[in-house]
Amino acid sequence: MENRLRILRAERGWSQAELAGHLDVSRQAVNAIETGKYDPSLPLAFKVARLFGQSIEQIFLDEVK
């Protein structure tokens, strides 16, 4: 699934490790989400959305649309 996580992270000048710290996950998890190799669970997607103040749909793009 495509997402805007890398862009949002870059806007704040955070490294993957820093974003991982904010989300309380490993750096590998952030990297896997950004490269589209792993789709986060719903609780983690909500956590990402809360952190960036956006809705899940604004961050994770529905490929069907």
Partner: protein, 222 residues
Amino acid sequence: MDAQINAGWADRLGSTARVTLIVVILILGIFMIGMVAGFSYAVFEDGKLPTKPLAYIIFAAMIGFAALVGWVLATLIRSLRPQSMSGFDRRYWRMWAVIVGLSIPIGIGFVMLGVSDRANGISLVLSNSPIAPLTAILGSLALGVLLIASAVIYHRTIDDHEERAYLWGSTIAFYFLALAFPLHWLLARGGIVPVLTIGVALLLILLSCIVQAIAWALLKFR
């Protein structure tokens, strides 16, 4: 802050000295395990517990010394890691330290119990020869405690991404077993491979653990 205070003495050493010290301690640790095994061989007679109190005092001293060496090793390793470790990373590495900390004494215990049966230490895990009832009970309890405690600690600590890597790794390992056993059974009936024994079964389970670990690592670190 706490880690910086504890690692204070280690920080005064250069990084090369610290790495050298870690390697030296690990090499000495292998020799120490050999010494413990040798001592156990001398103290335990045919699986019976020793009667002299001195044996227990020496065992307690060895455990105390091993704990001290473990603390020194952990402090040295901690002093080498980046200071900006996140809360998750701290919990994660603490979890591995606890699991390894549980595994080492249980592993040494297995070697000691194996030696106590007048056999090669590792024979407890790699052979199918009879063992004393006490050895069997203690071994089963240790294995049960280690596996259950490790699993609970591990699954309570890891994140969603690693949980998925673990679950897929386990699924692939299950498929490996589900294929390996009937294949071996059929091939054994055709006389191509030896008949399935408990040793072969344990080897297949060990192989499935390796398959699980490889799949887990590929999914976590790709």
